[in-house]
Symmetry: C2
Subunit: 142 residues, 2 copies
DNA sequence: AAAAAGCCTATCTTTTTTATAGAGTTTATG
DNA sequence: CATAAACTCTATAAAAAAGATAGGCTTTTT
C-alpha cells in the first residue's frame, strides 16, 4: 500500500496541475480542497520542492507551482521520493537495494527471481505513466 | 515491501517443501535453519495451518508439513494471508477493498485507473507463480 | 505418568507513520 | 520601512503497525 504521504502528494500535484494557470497556489488552499492536515502537507510539498518537482514563492501572493509539465513527472518518481522502494524485496530494488539477511546467493534465489519480475512489471507502468495520465481521467474530482 | 512475516513464511515453506519426504518438521528446526525467532515463527506457521496450507502433528515425532503440493500454493495467497492487500491503493484491492477517503467517483479517478493496471500486472505474476517456482532456482540456499 | 511438541492468547518493545508545534526567513505592499 | 503574508526548517509527539516474547494449555507418544 502507498502511504498517506504519497497519496497526499498525488492529490496535491493533481490540484497544482489543474490550477497551473492561476499562479502560485497556497498550501492552505490545497489542504482544504483535499482534506489534508495543513502542517503535514507542508512537509510533503517541501520534499517535492527539494526534489525539483515544485517551485515556491514566499510572501503575499506566494505559494507552490509545478516546475515541470505533468507529462514530465513519472508516478514512480513520486512514490520513491515519499515512500522509498517500490520493489517487494530489498534485494530486487533498483534505487534502494539491500541484501536480504541470510541470503547466500541472489543468483540462485527463486524469490529474488520472481520478485524481480514483479518489479519489472510494476515499473513498466509506473515509470511510463505520469502526472498527466492521472489527470486526463480525473476532471477535478478530488 | 513484504513484511518480515511474509518473508519468513516463504522461507519456512521452502524448507518444508525441500524436506517433504522427511515427515513432520519441527518449528525449532526451521527457526534454526532460517535464523528466525522460534516464537515468531510459531505464529506464522499457525496462520499457514489455519489457512489450510500446512498440517501439523502434536507430541513426539510431531511437527509441520505441507498439505498441498508446492505447485498448488500461489505466492499471492501467502502474501495476502500474512500481509493483507497486494494492491497499492485500497480502492483497487480485490481482496481487501476499501473506498479511498474523499473519493467521489472511482470510475473517473486517474489514480484508480493506473493503480488497477499495476495490480493486474502484479497479480498476473503472483497468482501464477507458486511455491514450486521459488524452489527450482533455489537449491537449499536458505 | 511424563515428556515432547504444537496451540492459543496476551503482552511488550521497537519502528514507522502520521501529525503538530513553533520559531525563522523571505517578499509584497501601503 | 513596518507589517503581514507565506513558505522554511527542525524538532517533537501521538498513534499505529510490525516484530518479538511469554507462558499456560492441549494433544500425542512412549
Amino acid at each position: 500500500m502507498l502511504s498517506k504521504k504519497t497519496q497526499y502528494a498525488f492529490h496535491a500535484l493533481i490540484h497544482l496541475a489543474e490550477n497551473a494557470d492561476k499562479g502560485p497556489i497556497l498550501i492552505s488552499e490545497i489542504a482544504q480542497e483535499k482534506n489534508i492536515s495543513i502542517k503535514f502537507l507542508e512537509n510533503i510539498l517541501l520534499e517535492l520542492k527539494n526534489a525539483g518537482i515544485l517551485g515556491s514563492k514566499k510572501g503575499k501572493g506566494g505559494g507552490y507551482y509545478l516546475l515541470k509539465t505533468p507529462k514530465e513527472v513519472p508516478l514512480a518518481k513520486i512514490i520513491r521520493l515519499l515512500d522509498g522502494a517500490i520493489a517487494l524485496l530489498p534485494c530486487v530494488s533498483l534505487n534502494y537495494y539491500e541484501k536480504c539477511e541470510n541470503c547466500r546467493d541472489e543468483a540462485v534465489c527463486g524469490l529474488n527471481d520472481v520478485m524481480g519480475k514483479v518489479r519489472d512489471a510494476t515499473l513498466k507502468i509506473l515509470e511510463n505513466k505520469t502526472l498527466k495520465d492521472i489527470l486526463t481521467r480525473n476532471v477535478s474530482i478530488f
